[in-house]
């Protein structure tokens, strides 16, 4: 990744020594998708919890209702977590099904752009040597020491970053979209393979919940690491694209 000329850091307190270099780390398409998703995912989780409150039982298989065996009874999600803030299934569905289009077509657009501009190939491609036990162990130790960047190549994602982004972009979000579609009676008629893929509508609904829980875990870990890696620098880089290479001594 090219290292741009050092940027003056007007918004930070004057640091002793020479200014640290800044690199152009996130392209506009990545930044746009990130913030659209940040809003969309909160709306999807909030409205999804209202929809779950309508029937807080999860089943496996094609059918599942009150007399059938549920593998999980979810708690009642409180109003401060749900959209809307009071129970209204109709309005929650309006939010959920409108922003589902933003999530689905947003992901599709981002994927196309990221293949064309080689973001996926350059930044997310997992190389075999990165999966060696030695490399994983080394990166894990670095994480535990709160060092997240390779000093020789600071713009590159570390292997755990790559794996988690790959899991979210190619695993969890597509799973959310396709299990969501599998719950649509009209889509089940149009694309019956959706049901074969997930093992029935109620299984798809359960997997939708599990994948959503996975996204919640990702969001928590992601935000925690943003804070540990230097919140101001990380957030600013996702707004302007420019990221200051952290001082390893401090980190």
């Amino acid at each position: 990744m090219p290292i741009d000329a050092a940027l003056p850091m007007e918004d930070a307190a004057p640091a002793p020594g020479p200014p640290r270099p800044a690199i152009y780390r996130h392209r506009a398409s990545t930044r746009l998708w990130h913030w659209v998703n940040a809003v969309t995912i909160i709306i999807m989780i909030g409205s999804g919890l209202t929809i779950l409150n309508a029937h807080p039982h999860l089943y496996w298989g094609a059918y599942g209702a009150n007399y059938d065996h549920a593998w999980l009874h979810t708690p009642r999600w409180p109003g401060f977590l749900t959209i809307p803030g009071h129970y209204n299934l109709a309005i929650a569905r309006r939010w959920h099904l409108l922003f589902a289009l933003v999530l689905g077509f947003g992901l599709l657009s981002y994927m196309i752009v990221s293949v064309v501009n080689r973001h996926f190939q350059r930044d997310l491609r997992v190389r075999a040597k990165e999966l060696s036990a030695r490399h994983l162990w080394h990166d894990l130790k670095e994480h535990l020491a709160f060092r997240f960047h390779d000093a020789a190549n600071p713009g590159a994602y570390n292997i755990f970053q790559k794996l988690s982004y790959v899991l979210v972009v190619f695993g969890l979000i597509p799973t959310m979209i396709f299990t969501g579609l599998a719950m649509s009676p009209a889509m089940d008629a149009a694309w019956p393979w959706l049901l074969d893929l997930f093992g029935g509508r109620q299984s798809a609904r359960s997997i939708h919940f599990i994948a959503a829980s996975g996204l919640v875990v990702f969001i928590i870990v992601h935000l925690t690491l943003v804070i540990l890696a230097g919140a101001w620098n990380e957030v600013r880089s996702m707004v302007t694209g420019r990221w200051t290479v952290p001082d390893e001594e401090e980190a």
């Binding site: 909030g46 094609a62 007399y67 109709a90 309005i91 089940d188 008629a189 943003v226």
Partner: protein, 253 residues
């Protein structure tokens, strides 16, 4: 700005903005211009689904072994309506399904006549808007057969079902378009799992429109009207739930 302050500010700021977003959604949903966008998702999803799917695509059908052991009753368990009580007391002997509106030959069909029409039997999944599903075996004539017998005029666009259960003193009603009305799995069911419909499941006659959610499957159907527009019927949004709590008219998703 010290690192700790930044972290604190960001955590607080992040949590506050997520909270604001959650509560802000309720405020935004009240703004007329945004509400219009929010409610337009219905038509967008309908357009997309219709574009992606064959109009005649069939809902999945199941074997007897895959049926729900017990098919729960939902919504109205028994209409509170003296006229319905009278029909029920005589086992629907004087029940007549009225078929009218934009048709050439209005019909009044007795239950015996309806049971005499060649019927379809289908084991399908009923999906409630709340999230649960139940699989049952439905039996009854195609709605298309009845509509063809009545001679639906080319000016008709929708079919409206008026029911015996009263909501706030007015009959429950629902509507579908002609694509779903003439779909080969859209039937007027008079039996579930081999028995005449129970009161809870919509006796004597209910709609099955298999590619949409449960609230579209009107129970206790008394009258079927072919219409050119949904304006002027109820509050104009095509159904009781659509009128009163903003449920989507197109419930294919």
């Amino acid at each position: 700005m010290s690192g700790i302050l930044t972290r604190r500010a960001l955590i607080t700021g992040g949590a506050a903005s997520a909270g604001l977003l959650l509560s802000g959604c309720d405020q935004v949903a009240q703004v007329p211009a945004f509400r219009k966008i929010l409610l337009s998702g219905d038509a967008m999803n309908q357009g997309l689904q219709r574009a992606l799917s064959d109009r005649a695509a069939l809902a999945p059908e199941f074997s007897e072994a895959q049926m729900s052991p017990r098919f729960r009753v939902n919504g109205t368990h028994k209409p509170v309506n003296p006229a319905y009580d009278a029909l029920l007391a005589e086992n629907f002997a004087s029940y007549r399904l009225q078929v009218g509106g934009l048709v050439d030959r209005p019909l009044a069909l007795s239950l015996a006549q309806i049971r005499g029409i060649p019927a379809r039997t289908q084991i399908t999944r009923h999906d409630c808007v709340e999230g649960w599903s139940a699989i049952g075996k439905w039996h009854g004539p195609l709605l298309g057969t009845i509509l063809k017998a009545a001679g639906v005029r080319s000016s008709a666009r929708y079919v409206v079902f008026t029911c015996a259960d009263l909501m706030d003193g007015k009959p429950y009603y629902e509507s579908i378009d002609l694509i779903d009305a003439f779909h080969p799995q859209t039937i007027m069911a008079w039996a579930l799992n081999g028995h005449a419909l129970s009161v809870g499941h919509g006796a004597p006659l209910r709609l099955r429109v298999e590619r949409q959610l449960g609230y579209k499957h009107a129970k206790y159907v008394m009258k079927i009207d072919a219409v050119a527009s949904l304006a002027g019927i109820g509050l104009g949004k095509g159904g009781y739930w659509e009128d009163h709590v903003d449920y989507d008219w197109y419930a294919g998703i």
